[in-house]
């Protein structure tokens, strides 16, 4: 970032401005993002409120944000970004908040399953280099103890040849797990 930042360096908005070059202060609270967000009703804080909370640079609200369900409900459909008159990259901010919330393990209890799914997904990729959906689903179910969900799909998926029990492996798996080590586990 060039120039002097208008934010407190330790504030969430400040870090986002520094790391993503996205400035929460640009938001003038028109609410167009919340209006267009498909999952706004599922969220505890709709997108425009998320930005407002960032603007305050208030630690209490920032904490709430990192523990919020909203950041995990976001489906990154980019509708908000697509229509924002100030061209604020909200999805990017959401990614950032998720990553941070995970790192500081402040993940909202209601969102645990979503995170587990993402983790299962990545592990599958980590081990095989590609996504084995069987592996993923099974793994996800083990993590969530939600064995029955979707189980009715399995037979028909098999019948339709949509599932293979032997995951496709790529040759250079070592490289992939290396990539994971260098990115995920370095911190």
């Amino acid at each position: 970032m060039s120039g002097i930042s208008i934010y407190k360096s330790n504030s969430l908005a400040g870090q986002i401005h520094h790391d993503l070059e996205v400035s929460a202060a640009k938001c003038y609270q028109c609410g167009k993002c919340s209006a267009g967000c498909p999952v706004a009703t599922e969220m505890d804080y709709p997108p425009s409120m998320v930005l407002r909370m960032l603007q305050t640079e208030n630690p209490v609200l920032e904490e709430k944000l990192l523990r919020s369900y909203s950041i995990w409900m976001c489906v990154t459909c980019e509708m908000c970004y697509g229509r924002c008159p100030m061209e604020i990259d909200i999805p990017k901010v959401m990614d950032y908040l998720r990553e941070k919330s995970l790192k500081e393990n402040k993940v909202n209890p209601k969102a645990k399953n979503i995170v587990k799914f993402h983790k299962a997904f990545l592990d599958s990729v980590n081990y095989t280099g590609r996504l084995s959906e069987v592996g993923l689903i099974a793994d996800y179910k083990l993590r969530t103890f939600n064995v029955v969900q979707d189980v009715n799909l399995v037979p028909s998926m098999l019948a339709k040849g949509k599932l293979h029990f032997i995951p496709e492996m790529i040759k250079d798996r070592l490289k992939i797990s290396k990539i994971f080590k260098k990115t995920l586990h370095k911190k």
Binding site: S34, A35, P46, R83
Partner: protein
């Protein structure tokens, strides 16, 4: 040998407290070319001035240096005195011994020495001063008003009523502009047409006003007080003198299905038409793009039915050249069309309309005779959603500014709708309510508290059509950004006001500057709001920035006064501090090599190309010529000229160089 007089002023104690004035005077008397030198307590007093005058006469002085206060203070005083003594005033210079010397230094020898140096410097300058004479340029006392909207009308009438001639040029077939399209006006709700049309008629009938409608500016040349304008009168295909405006042609014209610009495409008009009943002039024009005769070469029905045989199919465009002294630009604004808004359907929904279209729907003379009916099926909408800031305050769409009028007219629209459809619902999506203005805030409150307009603070994300309804999905930011979905029958977008079509081209023709949004720039944001950077060209109304009617009218009157002031003299007199390109004997004519590097740096377009031709008219040389009427004397061209061919009167190279040398060599 020069005969310079030096007059050192004590300014009471102000100078003599730290500067030894007698010494300065006596040293000065020893300077080469100084014929007389003295000091006096108050040089600016009558006796002081007489001292100067008498000395000029007695010692036959050909130059005067008054060593006193700042020239910004008393230069006019002493130049007047000099003139009264029969010496050219521009042979008098002032040495600043007070502000730049006695007041800022202590009583030390250095201070007196500085005073002496300063005097010597000015003496050397004055030796090289030449008699200068104030520039007089005649004023053509005719004003050109471009644009026949409410601003142009106001300006034209005001100027005309001061007794000066006015030429009004309007692009459309009738004057009246956007105001003539409005239904009722905030905050008083009086009918727009009722207050405007009398003014329009006045324009047509005023003895001092010549009106050219369906006409455009071709070019403008010249300078303040002395412009030459070329006006293109587009062919109306009718003989205006013969035409009585009976309207038979329009009623008989077979091509009736042309979308009407005046009705904002909510109504239809024939190919030969008058834009609206109260049009001025009330005479038709033929729209050549749509006239069957012009397209297919047959029809000519209008010609047959015209009782006065006024139709002229072969009428060509006409170019008029007129001399004028001042210009008032009042070209107004345009509104963004609904197809500017992808998220609101790229303009594909008939019932998503602009505020201006709603004005037509609400207007008693409009396509629905003032009944609020929606364009698609003529039904009376039970739920209307008004969306403010449609395009305005939206950097993503390239319009960062606030269009200023939308808050007010949207409140008015909601009101008018509720007045006409009592059981209807009016929802207004807004970001802020900007109602600064006399009785404006009260007006908005009335819309909410008395007429029950539902204001929702939030922007609309999307509008889409679903079985006959327009689904408006927005959010209520005052309820934690809770999504709101409204099933509307009509959606009105308060679309952004933008510079009128062709503003840029016009600005270039007039040599006036404009901002990134193509609105014309005023000379100073606070102190010169109606002037442009080009002398003699003034601005009125929304061509400078979005404005409502009261502001436009006020600005127009302001511009009119500026024109009246300009016209109050037969001649403009100006300081002769102007640049000049040297002229020498043939075959050189001038040391100017005609590189014209000076042309782009001149802020006043004062530098022209002059062609030197021999008797038989062959071009010998092209060189720069500086128009003394336009030159303001900044001297930028002088410093830039590579062949040192330009010099600035009052600050010639010769003079300033002498100053430098004198200042440094005691």
């Amino acid at each position: 040998m020069a005969r310079i007089g030096v007059f050192v002023c004590h300014c009471g104690e102000n100078i003599s407290a730290t500067v030894d004035c007698e010494k300065v005077a006596s040293v000065a008397s020893g300077f080469p070319g100084v014929a007389y030198s003295t000091s006096y307590k108050y040089m600016c007093s009558d006796p002081g001035q007489n001292l100067v005058k008498d000395a000029i006469k007695e010692y036959k002085l050909d130059g005067v240096v008054v060593a006193a206060c700042s020239p910004r203070m008393h230069e006019p005083t002493f130049r007047r005195a000099t003139a009264e003594a029969g010496l050219n005033p521009y042979l008098c210079e002032m040495a600043n011994l007070r502000e730049h010397c006695s007041w800022v230094h202590d009583k030390v020898e250095a201070t007196t020495n500085k005073a002496i140096d300063t005097v010597r410097t000015l003496v050397e300058k004055v030796k090289r001063n030449t008699p200068l004479h104030p520039i007089r340029v005649p004023v053509t006392k005719t004003a050109l008003v471009i644009g026949g909207g409410v601003a142009g009308i106001q300006a034209a009438l005001d100027i005309a009523n001061t007794g000066h001639k006015v030429i009004m040029v309007e692009r459309d077939p009738s004057i009246g502009g956007h105001m003539s399209q409005l239904s009722e006006t905030f905050p008083t709700l009086d009918c727009s047409q009722c207050i405007l049309t009398p003014r329009m008629v006045e324009i047509a009938q005023h003895p001092n006003i010549t009106l050219y409608t369906y006409a455009e500016i071709e070019s403008l040349e010249g300078f303040i007080g002395n412009f030459k304008v070329k006006i293109r009168k587009k062919s109306k295909s009718i003989d205006e003198k013969a035409c009585t405006g009976c309207g038979l042609c329009s009623t008989k014209c077979p091509t009736k299905k042309i979308s009407s610009e005046f009705e904002q495409h909510l109504g239809k008009r024939p190919a030969i038409y008058v834009p609206f009943p109260q049009a001025v002039p009330n005479k038709p024009v033929i729209d050549k793009e749509n006239c069957t005769y012009y397209l297919k070469g047959k029809c000519r029905i209008c010609e047959k039915v015209c009782p006065t045989k006024a139709i002229r199919f072969d009428q060509p465009d006409e170019i008029l050249e007129v001399e004028i002294g001042a210009v008032v630009v009042a070209t107004g604004f345009d509104v963004k069309e609904t197809d500017f808004f992808p998220e609101y359907g790229y303009g594909k929904y008939k019932d998503v309309i602009t505020g201006l279209q709603f004005e037509r729907i609400a207007s008693a003379s409009g396509p629905t005779q003032g009944m609020i009916r929606r364009p698609s099926d003529g039904e009376i909408p039970k739920t209307v959603v008004f969306i403010k800031c449609a395009g305005s305050r939206d950097p993503a769409k390239g319009i960062e500014y606030c269009s200023k009028i939308c808050c007010m007219y949207t409140a008015k629209h909601a009101m008018l709708y509720k007045h006409k459809v009592h059981d209807g619902n009016a929802f207004v999506f807004y970001m802020d309510i900007r109602a600064g203005g006399k009785n404006y805030e009260e007006f908005v409150r009335r819309a909410i508290t008395e007429d029950g307009a539902q204001y929702i603070r939030g922007r609309v994300s999307k509008v889409y059509e679903k079985n006959g309804k327009l689904i408006v999905s927005g959010a209520d930011t005052l309820l934690g950004s809770m999504p709101v979905e409204i099933e509307a029958d009509l959606v009105v977008l308060a679309t952004a006001s933008v510079a009128s079509k062709g503003a840029e081209e016009l600005a270039q023709k007039l040599h006036i500057s404009y901002d990134s949004y193509k609105f014309f720039s005023e000379a100073h944001p606070k102190l010169k709001p109606v002037e442009t950077n080009t002398g003699g060209i003034f601005l009125a109304g929304a061509c400078q920035a979005p404005k409502d009617i009261p502001e436009s009218v006020a600005m127009a009157s302001g511009a009119a006064v500026k024109v009246a002031v300009l016209f109050s003299n037969d001649e403009l007199t100006r300081e002769p501090i102007v640049a000049e390109v040297n002229r020498i004997a043939p075959p050189m004519y001038s040391t100017c090599v005609g590189c014209f590097m000076c042309q782009p740096v001149c802020p006043y377009q004062a530098i022209e190309r002059e062609q030197i031709k021999d008797r038989s008219g062959n071009l010998i040389k092209e060189l720069a010529r500086i128009n003394p009427g336009l030159c303001q004397g900044c001297g930028t061209c002088v410093a830039l000229c590579r062949s040192k061919s330009i010099d600035l009167h009052g600050y010639t190279n010769n003079q300033v160089l002498a100053e430098v040398v004198a200042l440094l060599n005691d």
